[in-house]
């Protein structure tokens, strides 16, 4: 295969302060499909167009934030090879047995220098999407909620951005698609990285607060879908951080908002295709505001301060 190794963000486990309120939110406002609960009372969701069993796991906790971030890899052999590569890079790995998460095979877990727990896995039950794979219809009529197509990427913060960036480049095969330089222009304040030809599969921002989540991002089908998402957020009085708007970085159109626990999420559309032969786009720190908020051209206070 031309796309091998790490393929895409596969799932993440999100801590929420009130499980049932969050189940309501992700089901009725976000419009995700509830696909299961496990014995630890974790609740599982998938997006409309995803074919694997789940992409979001909610866990009740006294503190919001993300427990771990998982990428699906192309095969068990790739999983073994990537684990070996991680160890060769002096990264400790742990095997989480199959079945720990519903319908999910063995996972290889490691901690990145920014403090975040990552996982790789090769197997998750194919449950398909509601359109199916036999002479399917193109859409599902009457969907309720924002109903994104799929989990797309995460933006996460930590101090050793360089360490995580290099680990993702050197071991996991990611490429930097866009970067914001530090004030002196000598280092990276933020990097958007791709393991595919999406403009980003993950973004790291330099921040003293290790192992923090800025947002999890969900893909919509159009700019009109972005408007509908904002309308639905208002109908449900969900807290919008900023948007609808465009990003300068990746050029996608988007809304940032918060779930009931204060976890930021993004519902976005578009962005260009980034292939590994392309040079990264570079932003000065001065233009970071326009990079993120292309229309207002200034970072809002919440963007810089609120992480979970």
């Amino acid at each position: 295969m031309a796309l091998t190794g790490v393929m895409r963000p596969g799932h993440c486990q999100l801590r929420v302060l009130d499980l049932e309120e969050s189940v309501h939110f992700y089901q009725d406002v976000m419009g995700l499909q509830l696909v299961g609960r496990d014995r630890s009372n974790r609740v599982y969701f998938k997006c409309l167009d995803e074919r694997d069993h789940h992409s979001l796991v909610l866990r009740q906790s006294e503190r919001a934030g993300m427990d771990f971030y998982a990428f699906k890899v192309s095969s068990r052999a790739a999983l073994d090879q990537l684990e070996a590569d991680l160890r060769a890079y002096d990264v400790a790995t742990e095997r989480i047995p199959a079945g720990d998460l519903l319908e999910t095979g063995e996972r290889v877990r490691f901690q990145a220098p920014t403090g975040h727990l990552f996982e790789l896995y090769a197997d998750k039950k194919h449950v398909g999407n509601p359109m199916g794979t036999h002479c399917p219809e193109a859409i599902i009529d009457g969907r309720r909620g924002i109903s994104p197509l799929r989990l797309d990427h995460w933006q996460i913060h930590g101090s050793d951005l360089d360490g995580s960036r290099d680990l993702f480049c050197d071991v996991l095969g990611f490429k930097v698609a866009e970067r914001v330089l530090t004030e002196d222009g000598q280092g990276d304040m933020a990097v958007w990285m791709s393991c595919s030809h999406k403009a980003h599969d993950i973004a790291f921002v330099r921040d003293t607060r290790d192992n923090t989540l800025h947002h999890a991002a969900y893909l919509l089908g159009s700019w009109e879908g972005v408007l509908k998402a904002a309308d639905i957020m208002t109908i449900h009085r969900a807290s919008i951080d900023e948007g609808p708007m465009r990003h300068g970085i990746t050029k996608g159109t988007t809304i940032y908002a918060f779930d009931p626990s204060g976890n930021r999420f993004e519902t976005f559309c578009g962005g260009y295709d980034f292939y590994p032969d392309m040079e990264p786009t570079v932003w000065t720190l001065e233009e970071f505001g326009r990079g993120v908020f292309y229309h207002s051209r200034r970072l809002n206070e919440r963007f810089l301060t609120v992480v979970t």
Copy 2:
């Protein structure tokens, strides 16, 4: 890198009956950028968002159609490996020297069982897009013509579909994303194949006419862009084959039209992400019409008969 080997369609050389009329068409109606002419009087074009030197080469000829189809690969090492793999698969290869096409490195050429000439190459001059990679703007105002973002894929016809499909799967790392079965349900009438996570980078359709082109496809940014494309075709009295409409296969929205030489092209938007772990979508021959023309649900005569 997670995306290695064959990355994407990179360029193709199209035969046109009247070069200057075609230059006008691809420049003013399609809105491509003319980037050069070579000593053989071939004319080179690139799309708005492409960063390499060109993606379309026009050559005057007495017969319309496509001379060859080229994929960019991730590195020279990948090029050498793929050439070795092709030979190991008993496919003859030829090296076209660097510089034969403007600003393009060495190409490895081979013929597929359906009769088409394919090329692989690793090097082409990066010329960038007009937005640039330093604190870029998101759009270019006042673009004229259809102005697609990039060359996306080709649909080509030939009798030994099985042979070409297997070659692309077994040697080049493609996966079948969607297929239309033959009437008896035992074979493939058509396959849409991906070397990335696009729903298709190439499509083969079984047809007694070997080495023929059904269409070259160009990507647009939105369904409103599809409308604008149709409007511009009408303003210039370009010949629309069908559309605006949606495809059932890939679920994109689209128009088929003809260039002045009768070469069909597609200007389309959307389509889902196909990853290599996904099962192909399967269509019966009976539903082929809805698969291609989702709204009219019947193949028009031209779709089946006109190739160049």
Copy 3:
């Protein structure tokens, strides 16, 4: 008021061959709200954004087509005046008592020279739309079906186009917004007429078949809504006549399709504002095809032959 007299198309009574099949169609595919049935077993519907009780009445019959077309006028005084004006123009009028149609006041009925029965009325129960008029939300989430905003206009055919056109201009205050000339350029083959600042509230086409319906048109909110309408038609295997496409005449974007009885309808969006001080747009018969089907630029056979 600056908008007085005839305000807008208010309702029409459509003959259908199988009432329950049609109720299913207009409710589940078109996404209209069923608001009542009367003692004559007529079924009443309204569109999402309409505030009056109904805009469509279905009546079972052995022959498809439209019984009558009704415009709402601005007041009872306006109704009386318009009736007097009609009679002064030698048009016979009839008063249909209040309550003949559910929740509807007295109607003034007359026959136009093209054979169609028209009605004027001033009173219909305000039932409101689901968003309400007190601090409303902007949208309703999870609507099923095409769910147009409102009834917009009708295109109807008959031989004495000149007579109906003049009656609508001279007595009812309509203006011709666009016209297609007859082959000799001396008369009107078709006229699009406005009683407001919409590009058309009614259109007449010259046709030997008097008192026939070409289509009833329903308004959508966007070109993406037109796409969704086409997708929903396909999901339900409704018969699409042509589209999605753009009109040259009025410049709207649109689909023509058929209900289960063969009555054509249109789901469209857009079109410019036409004010009474504007000169009509004129089309030659030669360009009629592009006027109606802006992208294909030719009238299809059904457009010219199928009326009910």
Copy 4:
């Protein structure tokens, strides 16, 4: 005619601090067509789809703001009648001779209780739009700038809102489409008024600053046009006040921004049709924020304080 008397906003004369900078702005950023300069060095512009000679007049001044607001009426007879009606209502009127504004007939000027100068006129030279009225094309390719379709409405502020509202209702035939109540619920804080079936042709907001402009609004064709407007504003570093977003009031989608003199303008799309038989939509002061800024649900400081 069914639409008689006051038809629509026709033109306004805007004071700008630096004429040439403003000419550049309205021509290149807004994408209006410069149609003339007069002996007083006023500069005239029209929008893409407008057919009359101009809709915007710029005048250099040391203070930003609007000199006067003009509505086109349906005929000279209507102009005379409306002047008589104004005088009968004890409103002083003045006749400005034909030719005072380029290509414009006699204007009737009066001052509204909120301090604003209004004008009515019946005649302005028809210059047509670039598509024409003979077998026109549907769009113009390659337009630069925001390129709105037409001037749509104004929001203006003053203390005697009741007086202006009543004058517009009682004499000019406007209807209140939406209103925001004062805190005690007994009066109007703001009213959106229509002389047609647009959701608003003018809006008055209660404010101690008489004769002030909140914004002049220009119509776009789609939500994607709103995005493009915001992108173009950023490319030119125009000052965006808020948006892209949706209004709760009128339900349109929109951006507020400032011209180089600090005059706010709106580029918007959509909004429902309001006919004179409809009840006004009522908002409490508490929900005013959601009414204007449907997504953020709070009035920003600038919205309340900046007028010119």
